[in-house]
Symmetry: C2
Subunit: 356 residues, 2 copies
């Protein structure tokens, strides 16, 4: 990794704030951005000094490689405020590590850790007012790297921009969602880039997801591309199944994004004495469990939605309703996570990262 000796960041403050124009009770996800952003450019073989500046449009050559060859990766994180006004991130070291795993797979230069952590901390501190206390409120943080070099040969760029933009958020996907198990389309191949948070992975899902929506299902649960027999993950969430009192989730492989929420839930399950198996989950097993009534819950896990209950799934034109359970694991994990994130409960694994 490309460690940088200094942690200095150039700062140009916005002359005024847009915050008074924002209706915090009616936030649509990802459309409103705070007053500042962080930019750090890569050229001449190294990352230059990061700059925090007023949020503004960027200038890109029409030949910038990101527009043609999709060299673009991102992360999704949140900052949370407790009732005393203290601000925290959740396991930012995990997002940092994943960013560089994505960078390597997309032939992009690794980003230095001190720039990542200090950059986030400085930016979040500056945007303090944008973070509202209360469970479910947060500041969504979007670090990303794009290839800016103006050259349309199909090869890795020599110039990049790392940026962080911030958007105030409430939890989204609050209603239970109905999902389709993928039978024809796939999200990623063995030996592909599915485990990277690569921009291209998302656009590839839009069309099949739109077809699913036309049938009344909001999301797709992706299956392995070779056989479509094993359930993997959703578009922006990892997936858990509860059969009886046992939790099951697919193992990581090169098609699946190694979610921070997923790995935290696996740990919380262990802490709470809930049996959790990490193993391949077959479509036929889940259908059988739905039929015999032992499938109690299915839920997604991801930073944006935290935990998102799934109320029905469809496969081979058959629809299965999932009743849910009184002692819902989904709510237990969601509460548990939010309590750690908002500094309400004990943080025995050191997941909270205090910002200010």
């Amino acid at each position: 990794m490309n460690m940088i000796p200094t942690n200095e960041i150039d700062l140009v403050k916005a002359s005024s704030s847009k915050i008074n124009d924002v209706d915090f009770n009616n936030l649509q996800f990802g459309r409103i951005f705070t007053d500042h952003m962080l930019v750090c450019n890569y050229k001449d073989g190294k990352w230059q000094k990061p700059q925090i500046m007023p949020y503004q449009p960027m200038t890109l050559e029409p030949s910038a490689r990101v527009l043609h060859y999709g060299q673009a990766i991102f992360e999704g994180m949140k900052a949370y405020k407790d009732d005393d006004g203290k601000i925290f991130m959740f396991r930012p070291d995990q997002n940092f590590a994943r960013l560089n795993k994505s960078a390597t797979r997309l032939a992009m230069p690794e980003f230095p850790k001190n720039y990542f952590i200090n950059g986030l901390e400085t930016l979040i501190t500056l945007e303090n007012e944008w973070i509202k206390p209360g469970k479910g409120n947060s500041l969504y943080l979007r670090p990303f790297i794009v290839a800016t070099e103006p050259a349309i040969a199909a090869s890795p760029a020599e110039e990049y921009s790392f940026m962080i933009i911030c958007s105030p958020a409430k939890a989204y996907y609050t209603d239970p969602v109905r999902v389709l198990f993928a039978e024809k389309y796939s999200r990623s191949a063995d030996g592909g880039v599915g485990y990277a948070k690569a921009a291209g992975n998302y656009a590839a899902q839009f069309y099949p997801t739109r077809l699913a929506q036309e049938k009344g299902f909001q999301q797709i649960i992706w299956t392995d591309a070779s056989s479509h027999d094993y359930l993997e993950e959703a578009g922006t969430m990892n997936i858990f199944f509860r059969i009886g009192n046992k939790l099951i989730t697919a193992p990581n492989n090169d098609r699946i994004l190694d979610g921070v929420t997923r790995k935290s839930i696996i740990q919380i399950a262990e802490d709470l004495g809930i049996d959790c198996e990490v193993r391949r989950v077959s479509v036929s097993e889940i259908k059988a469990a739905a039929k015999d009534g032992s499938l109690k819950e299915v839920f997604g896990a991801g930073t944006a939605a935290v935990v998102s209950p799934i109320s029905a799934f469809s496969h081979a034109e058959e629809v299965f309703e999932i009743s849910g359970s009184e002692d819902s694991y989904a709510s237990i994990f969601k509460d548990h996570l939010l309590n750690i994130q908002h500094n309400i409960s004990e943080d025995k694994h050191g997941w909270r990262h205090k910002v200010c």
Copy 2:
């Protein structure tokens, strides 16, 4: 398809030309652009009036969806000049059809045909001086569409830009290349977006290609992602094998880009009475043919390189040199194509499209 009644294009000419600064004998692919570009924006559910304007940087919000979710597709075409100064495109209807196939798969709006063809014609006519006669010289044309809408929710954009930029070119990959047959990494999945000219497909290849280059191989021939037993295509070229006097190329499927050069070569082979089989090509068959001396040629086919001979391949740590042949099919097809493109020979299938 979204047909637009008018074919008008707004035109703002550059005040001066950069052409005198360009060394046409030393062109590096895709780094120099002509004086103008075409821009057509999609908003409020329709494509707006196209504009030709001086080539210039574009302004993009940091939250533009293309930067986060990879909604970006492109085409690669060329304009050719004959010795009388007449200018032609080659089968632009094919690129148009493929652009919209890509658009559909990436959940982007289809682009109207008259804007595509008239836009190209108007722009090429304006850049007449940039196109040099002589086989191998051309103006590379890069139509592309990117999602510009400023919103970082993972769903299809409502705003896009279609653009065309142009770069003067000589044929590239002139030396025979050495290739690696993919054994671990893959380019695309069944049910994925491999058949679309989607930006993300390219970035996904850079890292494995870099590893191949470190071993002394310039390109990878991708195999099917499930078994790695069947040869599919290269990074920016379809692939042909010649065993004895028979040509073989893989059939199109949802992992393979339906190349215009490939389909033209299949037709030329038929015209010339060369036996060409379109069927699955196994790695073991090609290795066996290399061993018994019947593998005469392997070559790539694509707009940028036209026809690109391959001199060696490696699989399972074994390297096979391909001797080549006196009556090289690669040269026959290359000449045949260039002669049609440059208006030297008869165009019996109506592939030339006269611009001016």
